[in-house]
């Protein structure tokens, strides 16, 4: 009985780097050929995505990444494999082949950093001087971590007081090699005076300003999202903090932006996000302290992060979710040490940081399945994982089990194959190999806060120009069994594998193709909720942003403005069908819902296009979150200091028939001009 005829599972003990995130392990290891075939390189062989940062196994990874406390940074030659990188490490006696180290893949192009020393250097100091026009106003920092942010856009600029973007870190930009004292460990930082300078030099030609800021350059490989009419980050930041050029109040709403590297976004699985996100969050809080010190008050920070991860773990255990908690605490301690008076303190009197996250867009994606603990014996979750033909990117499936689950087993049957047990050993991946060709990898790890993850990476079903054998498309039956603690669950999540906005269409999304799953109701309309008594293991509930499980953040779902504006309309029509919500038994609840679509047929919310003066529609909970970010910033500027879970209820419209599980504590009203274009 074999998973696939002609293939066998075997352990990858030799060529394995301990501690590598499973996506990174696959992408740098057996999945590398597929990636290399797809990566655009500069003529001089820019070594994209060939760098690993190593930290000590017993070090706190969040602290280590935040402080650039890397034992070693290894960069391979173009196309270098995990084996080559490991050989390079092994030749270095001090590092004993990587034993006792954990690794993070750096999704950076080589041009984005000068050398190892720069990557390890602490964030440089910055200067901030208050613009005129702040008298009598309460300063707030709006932070944004996104991709494709036009930092020179007119909506982020006051006509007389200049750019409100005080600091921007473009992580994927070319490092300024002429500048020995780079202020950031990779990419490039811009400050408000530099943005103003570029705009002045460009003499009204915004496209030229973007070139001067190194945001658009077609002479080098890679994507320039700001060359497209729609850019995610510009739209999101406009909703979060955009303002008319004559809005004097907005001068007190300062912006600190981080633009994530293209590889982090292009890999829609979210598997590469941790390293850059931790650095980004730390950067925003550090620069907010720079402003606070100059302003002589601890300025509140409202941070919008409109990205989500399709998978788990629940409970805020993902490293990015843990980083939010840890870095906010570190920020508060630093503020305390500075002895600054705190504006709008939190319940404990500490500096306020509000992190706003989307609930995710995969409610209808058939990417989540669940099995509750059996009354006795082992609990089994079997999913029919359909992988589409013509998928040029790897597909990922992960199972999450409680930390105290025991005896986890995995069985896999490929299309035309039979269920075969795959031996699991902690941190030692298994690969599915035939004739020397690897097409899948399975692993068990506990790196995300102790929760157990069984992870399966499957090669593309279209291997393109890689010369590698593709994985067969069709249904893969994957079964996980374990003895669960009472009340525990096994959750399976298909990671996102489609194409991000503005990228070349390569990925095709895999999903659970369960005949027992009901997509449509008796009236032929699409079902928004899981029907009661459903036989299927596939569930809409629980298809939730895997980064949003922590207690701290504000989490925002999306609703349709028109449907919610008519009292008579079915409440079931209010939420956007795709907007994610946590599992019913999850401790995490949604905070609120904000507009994500104008109506069931008019998709998206209008806000800034890439270049000043343009308006475009974009949808998803990505656009919901920043509207609440904006409302919170405005409330803080108006002197609000609310505490507790209900602290932002005042911003929301309560409603009689609240579907709290999907809409949270209430609906945020739509923005109106001049805060946003009219949606009428």
């Amino acid at each position: 009985m074999a998973t696939l005829p002609g293939y066998a599972w075997c352990a990858r003990e030799e060529d394995h780097l301990p501690g590598l995130d499973p996506v990174g392990a696959w992408l740098l290891g057996d999945g590398l050929d597929f990636e290399v075939a797809a990566i655009d390189r500069d003529r001089d062989g820019d070594r994209d995505f060939r760098t690993l940062a190593a930290i000590k196994d017993d070090a706190d990874p969040i602290e280590a990444i935040r402080n650039g406390d890397f034992v070693r940074v290894v960069t391979g030659a173009p196309g270098a494999s995990l084996q080559a990188l490991k050989a390079k490490l092994a030749s270095d006696e001090a590092y004993a082949g990587g034993e006792g180290l954990r690794f993070f893949a750096l999704p950076l192009r080589e041009r984005s950093f000068r050398d190892e020393a720069q990557l390890k250097a602490p964030l440089g100091e910055a200067e901030w001087s208050a613009p005129k026009g702040l008298k009598g106003k309460t300063l707030v920092v709006t932070g944004i971590i996104d991709h494709g942010i036009n930092i020179a856009h007119a909506r982020f600029r006051h006509a007389k007081r200049g750019s409100r973007v005080d600091f921007a870190w473009i992580q994927g930009a070319s490092a300024d090699r002429s500048d020995e004292a780079a202020t950031v460990p990779f990419g490039r930082e811009w400050t408000a005076p530099e943005i103003e300078d570029a705009l002045e030099k460009a003499g009204g030609d915004e496209a030229r300003a973007l070139r001067l800021l190194d945001l658009v350059d077609f002479t080098r490989a890679g994507r320039d999202p700001l060359s497209n009419p729609v850019s995610h980050g510009t739209h999101v930041l406009d909703l979060a903090a955009g303002a008319a050029a004559n809005d004097d109040e907005a001068v007190a709403n300062r912006i600190i932006a981080v633009d994530l590297p293209e590889r982090v976004i292009e890999d829609t699985s979210g598997g590469l996000i941790a390293f850059c996100f931790i650095q980004a969050l730390d950067y925003i809080l550090r620069r907010a302290r720079t402003i606070s010190v100059a302003h002589k008050k601890a300025v509140p920070v409202v941070l919008n992060f409109s990205l989500s991860r399709a998978g788990g773990p629940e409970g805020g255990l993902h490293i990015a979710a843990r980083a939010m908690e840890a870095l906010v605490r570190a920020h508060q301690a630093e503020i305390e040490a500075l002895g600054l008076p705190v504006v709008a303190p939190d319940a404990e009197g500490k500096a306020r940081v509000e992190i706003v996250l989307p609930s995710g867009n995969r409610r209808q994606a058939r990417g989540h399945a669940t099995a509750a603990a059996a009354a006795k014996g082992k609990t089994t979750l079997t999913v029919p994982w359909r992988v589409q033909p013509g998928d040029m990117t790897s597909s990922y499936l992960e199972f999450w089990l409680p930390a105290d689950a025991t005896g986890a087993t995995l069985k896999v049957a490929g299309p035309g194959g039979a269920a075969e047990a795959v031996p699991l050993a902690l941190d030692v991946p298994q690969v599915l190999e035939g004739d020397g060709q690897v097409i899948a990898q399975a692993s068990l790890d506990k790196r995300e806060g102790g929760a157990q993850r069984i992870f399966i990476a499957l090669a593309p079903t279209d291997a393109g120009q890689s010369g590698r054998r593709p994985a067969p498309s069709g249904v893969w039956q994957v079964s996980v069994a374990a003895t669960l603690p009472s009340g525990g669950r096994i959750d399976a999540h298909v990671l996102r594998d489609d194409t991000a906005l503005g990228f070349a269409p390569r990925g095709r999304q895999s999903y659970f193709d369960d005949p027992a799953y009901a997509r449509f109701g008796a009236d032929g309309d699409g079902l928004d909720a899981d029907p009661a008594g459903l036989a299927s293991v596939v569930r809409r509930d629980g298809a939730f942003n895997g980064l949003a499980g922590g207690e701290g953040p504000v989490v925002v779902s999306g609703y349709r403005v028109r449907e919610a504006s008519f009292g008579a309309a079915r409440v079931a029509d209010w939420p956007a069908a795709y907007a994610g919500a946590p599992s019913p038994d999850s401790a995490r609840k949604l905070t609120a819902a904000a507009p994500s679509d104008r109506s069931r047929v008019l998709s998206g919310i209008l806000a800034a296009g890439t270049l000043s003066g343009t308006t475009v529609a974009m949808n998803g909970t990505s656009v919901s979150a920043p509207q609440l970010t904006r409302a919170i910033a405005r409330a803080l500027m108006a002197g609000a200091t609310p505490h507790g879970e209900a602290r932002w209820d005042e911003l929301l419209e309560a409603h009689d028939e609240t579907d709290e599980a999907r809409l949270g504590r209430g609906l945020l009203p739509p923005l109106t001009p001049p805060d946003a274009p009219s949606i009428a």
Binding site: R43, A207, F218, T219, A221, G222, D224, S227, N228, P229
Partner: protein
């Protein structure tokens, strides 16, 4: 309406080709146009001035001809011949108003082309072994039998980039391919004619500003004529012949890459409009010119996005179009000095093309990389005698179309 009107005009221009079937060159263009690819064909788009089927008699049908014969027989009565006549004065520019627009276009095209000479210059240092010099023919006083003494003055000198330059430029074309989906509407509608894209900026209208459009048609023809000479001599291979991965989204035209015809034509149109409309442009100073040049840059860049041109083709074409525009305006008004261009594409490497490389505000400039050098020993001093009387007539007619707007004559 302007776009629809201009689109109709463009089709009218195609109709006009039929009427000129006897004109060999036009016939050839027609064949080219059948491929939907650009080229000199684009020049005829600007001939939109020829009018949407009003060319009067561009179509004759048998029924109508029969009807007209029978009607005459029933109408004229006995033959009573006239005894006096008022002839047209010979050699008068005003007569142009009596000729059909396609005829004026030929007269003016002949006026402009007859004063330019093309010379292939052998140069061992030039990639390909030859470069091209374009000179202005200075015409002296008429001698015996009306034949004047003539001499050439250096105006344009174009040398192609090296093989390594083209290979480096190929990377940029690949990178720009990311924008193909975004730009496809522009690319497809600009393949044949680009006038609609300037009409929206400068408020052109096929009826109200018909002479302006006719003037732009003349500019377009001049740009196409000269750029094809330069293309032919420099013979630069197209991107799709260098890499099977370029795969242009539209057919690659059947002529050399450098200079880009679209860039030459777009920049001559933008520059002539800038000259014509600067005195009456509303709004912020320099805005109209900036947007015209921006549009020309976008049209040129779209050809790179499509995969049919290197960025250096655009740089080269822009330098050529701007120089020809200044030349044409000088010959339409009162002569004066015109900066020529020495273009040497060598060393362009992987530099992209930006509009600021060739023009700053309303002043042309040499490019920062040194490939475009303006003026110097290639500056023309045009005399009154260099002014083309038919062209000046058209310029004046075009100017009068803009006297109705606020600020005119201010």
């Amino acid at each position: 309406m302007p776009i629809a009107t201009l689109s109709a005009l463009a089709h009218g221009a195609h109709g006009a080709h039929g009427a000129h079937g006897a004109h060999g060159a036009h016939g050839a263009h027609g064949a080219h146009g059948a491929h939907g690819a650009h080229g000199a064909h684009g020049a005829h788009g600007a001939h939109g001035a020829h009018g949407a089927g009003v060319a009067g008699g561009s179509t004759f049908d048998g029924m109508l001809t029969g009807g007209l014969m029978i009607a005459r027989d029933g109408l004229i009565g006995a033959w009573t011949p006239p005894t006096t006549m008022t002839p047209f004065p010979a050699g008068e520019a005003a007569n142009l108003g009596s000729w059909g627009r396609p005829i004026r276009a030929m007269v003016i095209a002949g006026e402009l082309a007859s004063r330019l000479g093309y010379h292939i210059v052998a140069d061992k240092k030039a990639p390909g072994g030859n470069l091209i010099a374009v000179s202005h023919l200075t015409v002296g006083k008429a001698g015996k039998k009306g034949i004047p003494e003539v001499s050439y003055a250096p105006f344009l000198r174009y040398t192609r980039p090296t093989d390594a330059d083209f290979l480096a430029q190929l990377d940029i074309i690949h990178n720009y391919a990311d924008l193909r989906a975004d730009r496809s509407a522009e690319i497809l509608t600009q393949a044949d004619q680009t006038l609609a894209y300037f009409a929206t900026v400068a408020a052109l209208d096929g009826d109200r500003t018909k002479h302006t459009i006719e003037l732009l048609g003349a500019a377009h023809t001049l740009a196409a004529t000269v750029s094809q000479q330069v293309k032919h001599v420099l013979a630069c291979i197209r991107p799709d012949r260098l890499s099977a991965q370029i795969q242009p989204m539209i057919p690659t035209p059947r002529h050399g890459a450098l200079p880009s015809g679209h860039a030459t034509e777009a920049f001559i149109v933008a520059r002539v409009l800038q000259h014509l409309l600067a005195p009456v442009a509303p709004g912020e100073a320099g805005q109209l010119g900036r947007l015209l040049m921006g549009q020309a840059h976008r049209i040129a860049t779209n050809r790179t996005v499509a995969g049919v041109h290197y960025p250096v083709d655009s740089l080269c074409g822009a330098s050529l179009g701007l120089a020809l525009a200044d030349y044409m305006v000088a010959r339409a008004t009162k002569g004066g000095s015109v900066d020529g261009v020495v273009f040497d594409g060598q060393g362009i490497g992987n530099s992209d093309f930006f509009v600021g490389d060739v023009i700053a505000g309303d002043a042309r400039c040499s490019s920062p990389g040194g490939q475009v050098k303006i003026g110097g020993d290639h500056a023309l001093k045009l005399a009154k005698a260099d002014v083309s009387v038919p062209l000046a007539w058209l310029w004046e007619k075009a100017t009068q179309e803009w006297t109705d707007v606020a600020g005119a004559g201010a």
